[in-house]
Symmetry: C2
DNA sequence: TTGTAGGCGTTATCAG
DNA sequence: CTGATAACGCCTACAA
């Protein structure tokens, strides 16, 4: 059978759907394609979705041509409506302002894009009251799953109820009552690493400074690990300070530091900061006191921000593998979406100690 | 600014849809509500959308009850399919890693949420080749409009073609050939303010350090304003250095600084940094040279990041009203969506000079 | 004031 | 292998 080349102009020739179309130009629909190809909608649909179904070569080419000529691409909305799946993933973030969240977001976003998913973003702005609203809003858009970096105290019920059978993966903050994959830094090891480093460098009195715990799992875990370390370590004393948010925060913190160092003297005192927000606050307090990192006080801080090398003598940090966290979270979710059924996984990634001046004992003449 | 809030669809009665529903539980549809209330779908729809239409009190209550009882809320997907509008706004960002982008994102996100819109995020990761893909992906989800912080050189065609009649607002980066609202810092004034401040403080030789321009409007504008300033100012010399991205970036920059200062001597030399990314790179270069801000070199940098106070003697910055930029961009867009028809607006917001140690002449013993 | 019916763009089922 | 046809959940003429 000779190939009856259709008399139509070559299709693939025109990659640009229509850059000069009048603004109102309607997107091509499957109907248009069907008409153009002289076949039925069903055929076009099959051509698009079930490539394995063998179509008559002739028909296949005709459809292909028409699709190309019209610059057709199927409407995800209509698809979602029909299939109940949307190629959308909902990402709820506690606070886009937090560099950690952003870094995770970045990793997740890339992984999603690669897998053909788009991200719908909902930022809580640290107002955990909006958590339920966020999930519902996202759910109503038929997101296929959630990546959550936002669990407050009793958010489990919220999630459990609202997710309506959609897979969830938790990042950084877990919830014991919730069946879900969980991706996070290995907080216990990280704290041990950080505190161990401080002790090794000769700092004897350690203060762990954290944001108010408020039942946030990562905060609790880090703090607990810190206490555990202090108890087990020889000749090291440890204590925790919760730095309340708000206006007087820096002053209160400065006062706490002064007191802590006074009671420690003549032993050398250092601080372990729970995240970059606190590290910044600590920097403010130090300035107020006229103290210098590595001299009057040692410091290791969670989160290896890009400015860490440039503050004081350089801040020693625990770098979180943020990109991987985001990527793994997204991939976990996508696997579930593809039907993987397994008991909830826990993925704990190691942190990395980046040593800089702020924790170096040699600099410190008590 | 008029309150763009849409009429609420949800009846407030029952905040908890059903936290204990079996995971597979189907979302209630308008049909379920109609059945439960013993009315037709049309009536329910009217109750939801056209509150002004008078319904018989009896019927209204029945519908309301049913809605509440079932925890019903309409499916935005179905709505979008029917109405062609989706309550979605597409946000394309050049680089989520850039704090400026994030800050804008934050402002925009809040404004959108308040107006009942959700944000679909697409991050280019500085790969401007994906711009077209981004816009098309977003468009296929029927986003009602775009907020773009990403225009490369000839992106105008892309946008113009792909947006298909959907309103666009540009943030920070404009494109002359494109009819669209534009929200940005007033770059010219900001540069004048910054450079003026340096001159005033006795710095005589000014180096403007910028990322490669690559046709990005904001970069071009700032650089042009800087040159204009240098020409017009008495006894001030100015020059521009484009810092290429990549591995050797910091070294190359350090070398440039050294050369610049050498040719300037004994006049006092200062640097104007085009954004926080460059400022960080400058900090790296300074460290390599063993120089100190405010002593060997003066500095004013664009973007008032939260770490600026803590680097060296504190970095003098031009603070951009990022939150407002994001908010205004979103509101601009939303106004258009509500039918406002006007020629493209330009909203230029003033920056604010935040003086810290890095630019203070008094510290500098040449 | 309310109900009926048709369609938005797809996919899936069932005949042919 | 292909083509009608019926949903998916919602909105809106039009009719009652």
């Amino acid at each position: 059978m000779p190939d009856p080349r259709p008399p139509r102009a070559r299709a693939a020739a025109r990659p640009t759907p229509d850059a000069s179309a009048p603004p109102g130009a309607r997107r091509a629909t499957i109907d248009d394609v069907a008409r153009a190809a002289g076949v039925s909608k069903a055929t076009v649909s099959r051509f698009l979705n079930h490539r394995e179904t063998l179509l008559t070569p002739d028909i296949a080419t005709r459809v292909e041509t028409a699709v190309a000529a019209l610059g057709y691409s199927p409407s995800p909305m209509a698809r979602a409506l029909k299939r109940g799946r949307s190629r959308l993933i909902g990402l709820v973030v506690a606070d886009v302002t937090n560099p950690f969240s952003v870094a995770v977001l970045r990793g997740a976003e890339r992984a999603c894009q690669q897998a053909g998913y788009l991200l719908m973003l909902f930022n809580l702005g640290n107002d955990s009251g909006r958590e339920r609203a966020a999930i519902e809003a996202l759910a109503s858009y038929q997101v296929e799953g959630f990546i959550l970096n936002t669990l407050g105290r009793d958010a489990g019920a919220v999630v459990d109820g609202a997710r309506q059978g959609r897979p969830v993966v938790l990042v950084d903050r877990r919830h014991s009552g919730l069946q879900a994959d969980f991706v996070s830094l290995d907080n216990a090891s990280a704290v041990h690493m950080a505190a161990g480093h401080l002790a090794e460098q000769g700092w004897r009195d350690l203060l762990y400074v954290t944001e108010p715990m408020r039942g946030v799992s990562s905060r609790l875990e880090r703090e607990a690990a810190f206490r555990a370390f202090a108890q087990q370590a020889d000749g090291v004393r440890g204590q925790t300070f919760e730095s309340q948010d708000g206006d007087g925060a820096t002053d209160a913190l400065a006062e706490a530091l002064r007191a802590w160092r006074a009671q420690a003297a003549p032993r050398r005192a250092a601080v372990l900061s729970s995240n970059s927000v606190i590290t910044l606050r600590l920097a403010g307090a130090m300035a107020r006191l006229g103290w210098h990192w590595g001299r009057e006080l040692g410091l290791v801080g969670f989160d290896d921000t890009d400015w860490a090398p440039h503050v004081g003598p350089g801040i020693t940090t625990i770098a979180q593998p943020t990109d991987d966290l985001g990527r793994l979270a997204a991939n976990c979710l996508i696997e579930r979406l593809q039907g993987l059924v397994l008991p909830p996984r826990q993925i704990l990634l190691p942190g990395q100690l980046v040593v800089r001046g702020s924790s170096l004992g040699s600099l410190a003449p008590a």
